[in-house]
């Protein structure tokens, strides 16, 4: 009995300090979790042609969706889409509902305060479009015009900066509502990507919509939460590889009809 107690004491004397000095377990990174659970959760916006749309059977489609599918395939994990309205692309990521947002988010320094950008995987222009009957030739012509823009987009950041005082800016939650406002005559012109503008023009030939001004040209890329460095590094590696092998250019060409411009890295 005595020996038993002594042995127990000895065991405790050895074990307790060993437990105390044990290395703290490193917190699991988002990339670790994705690989462990074999599931990549991606925020997409399916109301933003040609980057994200719903096809005839209601399935997500578009260039962002194609990029996400290829990325998950190459990572060897299952893909889960988290569909959000345009204005929720960043907040859904911040709320932890997904691991990455691939929804043609243009690189801006303001957005970089909230999330981390990966290298760009595409480029877009923001333009102002309106019916032929509305005369807009220079930014000064925007005075007293009602311009529809969509919340949470690059145009929301860019248009108020270039529009002269007296421009009446009208905000909508989704690009679909912005387009509807132009088609029903509730606004004189709208600002959106040139691609979305083209889809609108082609879909409504009787409205005689034309591009009036180019506001800005920007690069867009996937975003991750602050601190998710290893996920960002994996995505950057993937973008590098798929720029080299032409996959990104093929996806861009398929959905926008344009050649992908050379993509800068940072």
């Amino acid at each position: 009995m005595k020996i038993c107690l002594r042995l127990l004491t000895l065991a405790l004397l050895v074990a307790v300090p060993a437990l105390l000095v044990a290395h703290p377990v490193r917190a699991e990174s988002t990339l670790d979790t994705i690989l462990k659970e074999k599931k990549l959760r991606v925020v997409i916006d399916v109301a933003n042609p040609p980057f994200g749309v719903l096809d005839k059977s209601g399935q997500p489609d578009g260039s962002d969706v194609a990029v996400a599918r290829q990325m998950a395939k190459d990572m060897g994990v299952e893909l889960e889409f988290v569909q959000v309205p345009t204005a929720g692309r960043i907040s859904a990521l911040l709320a932890g509902r997904a691991d990455v947002t691939i929804a043609s988010i243009s690189v801006t320094s303001d957005r970089a305060k909230a999330v981390m950008f990966c290298n760009p995987n595409g480029a877009l222009s923001i333009v102002i479009l309106g019916p032929q009957s509305v005369a807009i030739k220079t930014p000064a012509d925007l005075v007293d015009k009602r311009i529809g823009i969509t919340r949470g987009t690059l145009e929301e950041a860019a248009v108020p900066k270039m529009a002269p005082q007296g421009t009446k800016i009208v905000w909508f939650d989704e690009i679909a509502a912005t387009i509807q406002a132009l088609l029903s005559g509730q606004v004189d012109a709208v600002a959106m990507t040139s691609f979305a503008g083209k889809t609108m023009e082609d879909g409504n030939p009787d409205k005689k919509i034309e591009t009036k001004l180019t506001v800005t040209t920007a690069f867009y890329g996937p975003i991750v939460r602050h601190g998710d460095f290893d996920l960002r590094q994996w995505i950057n590696t993937w973008i590098f590889l798929n720029t080299q092998n032409g996959t990104l250019a093929a996806i861009y060409k398929k959905y926008t009809g344009l050649d992908l411009p050379p993509l800068p890295v940072f």
Partner: protein, 223 residues
């Protein structure tokens, strides 16, 4: 998840948020007043009007109560221009809210009218009062008093559902909040404060509605 809350951004934009809350209050208060008038008219038409009026009132109530509020707003804002009627976002919002409340409240008011003892109406008739006189002097006030709690809840619900009008670019509290969160990227902070403002407005409206109850019904001794 390590999210660092930064409420100082919200305080910087507080005047804009309060402006949004003001429009919410204005829209809701105006829609409450107009909607109640519409509801009383409809309830009167449904309980005492000639047959075509009854059908019309029933059709209106059923149409509005069985379609989504969002679709009703879209019709006022996006579809009316097709017939040449351009309403500003605020006007379209006010109209949609009034029409919506009118339908729901008219059923509540009708319940109150039916709860007035029939003997009182007969007494009025025996005194030689006309139908409208009976409605105005005998029926409507006790009817409204009976259903006042249900009406108040419907009013508060209307105020809360006014957040939907941000979709047609009316710049009320929800619209301002989503604009600010999308430009500052502080969604949680702004939605927390907006939630607090909505709660405060609900309690404020409740207080005003109870004061109104006391002033209109209790002080005047309506039974």
């Amino acid at each position: 998840m390590n999210y660092v809350f930064q409420f100082n951004v919200v305080w910087d934009h507080l005047p804009e948020l309060l402006n949004g809350a003001l429009l919410t209050i204005q829209l809701s208060a105006a829609a409450m007043a107009l909607g109640l008038c519409l509801a009383v008219l409809c309830a009167y038409g449904k309980s005492a009007g000639p047959k075509p009026v009854r059908w019309l009132a029933t059709a209106y109530v059923e149409l509005i109560r069985n379609t989504p509020f969002l679709v009703q707003i879209f019709i006022f804002y996006f579809s009316l221009p097709a017939i040449g009627l351009y309403l500003s976002a605020n006007t379209a919002a006010l109209l949609a809210m009034t029409v919506n409340l009118g339908a729901y409240a008219s059923e509540i008011v009708r319940a109150g009218i039916e709860a007035v003892p029939h003997g009182q109406v007969e007494a009025g008739r025996a005194l030689g009062l006309k139908r409208l006189q009976i409605f105005r002097s005998i029926v409507i006030f006790p009817a409204l008093k009976t259903v006042y709690p249900a009406l108040s809840s419907q009013f508060i619900l209307l105020m809360l559902s006014s957040s939907v009008v941000s979709t047609i670019s009316a710049v009320e509290l929800t619209a301002i909040t989503s604009s600010l969160q999308s430009t500052t990227f502080r969604p949680f902070e702004f939605y927390f404060v907006a939630t607090g403002l909505y709660l405060a407005m609900s309690l404020g409206f409740r207080a005003v509605l109870s004061t109104t109850y006391w002033a209109v019904f209790q002080r005047r001794g309506v039974v």
